[in-house]
């Protein structure tokens, strides 16, 4: 739909909205962002032990990137990079693989023991190992497809209902109800930020399981 160089500029655009703090007490924009980042990082990193907390920069930059990209996609005519499955797969697969490999390197026996829950009857063991392997390998696919599908579906709904409102403007009474549906839908869609939280939380749960247990 758009030329390739413009997509690169638009993907790098949200980084302009986050200036880096230079002083002890900054202007309002940086202070608000600092407060939000500290609030989120404290809540998110409280689960991890020493080793898991080295991932703090990665997780915070992930939530900032996905959150700002999704919120900027709600502006009219804007392009959201996270609607493309390629970008989400490119984010999901390396991060998930990193957590799995970290778990295998440091706690090999415990990571392999994930494939067999305790107390299973003996005839069921081969089938259960296959099921657990499939559920492990489907994690990155689920991460990427969940993000893509949610944001694409939200944008598509906004387009369709907006088009329906424009077409119904000749018939007046129905237009008001449809317009209110658009407004409510946009407000709910502004919980795209909640979707980022879902993304990072799922990544977080995976990291937690692989580093602690």
């Amino acid at each position: 739909m758009m030329g390739l160089p413009i997509v690169i500029i638009i993907t790098m655009f949200p980084s302009i909205m986050f200036p880096s703090p230079t002083r002890l007490i900054n202007n309002r924009l940086i202070s608000i962002q600092q407060w939000l980042v500290q609030l989120t990082s404290k809540q998110m990193l409280s689960i991890h032990n020493q080793k898991g907390q080295t991932w703090a920069l990665m997780l915070m930059s992930l939530i900032l990137f996905i959150g700002s990209t999704n919120l900027l996609g709600l502006l009219p005519h804007s392009f959201t990079p996270t609607t493309q499955l390629s970008l989400n797969l490119g984010m999901a697969i390396p991060l998930w693989a990193g957590t799995v490999i970290t778990g295998f390197r440091h706690k090999t026996k415990a990571s392999l023991a994930h494939f067999l829950p305790q107390g299973t009857p003996l005839p069921l063991i081969p089938m259960l190992i296959i099921i657990e392997t499939i559920s492990l390998f489907i994690q990155p696919m689920a991460l990427a497809v969940r993000l893509t599908a949610n944001i694409t579906a939200g944008h598509l709904l906004i387009h369709l209902i907006g088009g329906a409102t424009l077409a119904l403007m000749n018939i007046s009474t129905i237009t008001a109800m449809v317009t209110f549906t658009i407004l409510v839908l946009l407000t709910i869609l502004e919980f795209a930020v909640a979707l980022i939280q879902a993304y990072v939380f799922t990544l977080l749960v995976s990291l937690y399981l692989h580093d602690n247990t």
Binding site: I10, I16, M17, P19, N27, R28, P76, H77, S78
Partner: protein
């Protein structure tokens, strides 16, 4: 001492003349000013960096800054995104 001092004096005004000319250049001189800029990667990156800091220091970094500083950037972003879609949106005009 004196030789290096004169060398510094001769380098700095030339660079400042190029940068400050964005606000001072008159509209008739614009093509010649564009040809005067350096188009190396470092030069273009310096131009973007300079414009970012000038906008930031003037509109965002004030003591009682409100939403106005960021809203101008977002409005410019919306207008910037309108242009690639113009050909597709031309069919959806409401004709009376």
């Amino acid at each position: 001492g004196a030789h290096t001092g004169s060398k510094m004096v001769s380098v700095i005004p030339v660079k400042e003349k190029k940068l400050m000319d964005v606000m001072d250049v008159k509209l008739g001189e614009l093509p010649s000013w564009i040809l005067m800029q350096d188009f190396t990667p470092k030069g273009t990156f310096g131009a973007f960096q300079g414009s970012y800091y000038r906008y930031y220091n003037k509109y965002v970094k004030v003591k009682k800054g409100g939403i106005a500083g960021i809203s101008m950037v977002l409005a410019a972003y919306v207008v910037f995104n309108y242009f690639p879609y113009y050909k597709e949106l031309k069919h959806e005009q409401i004709r009376k």
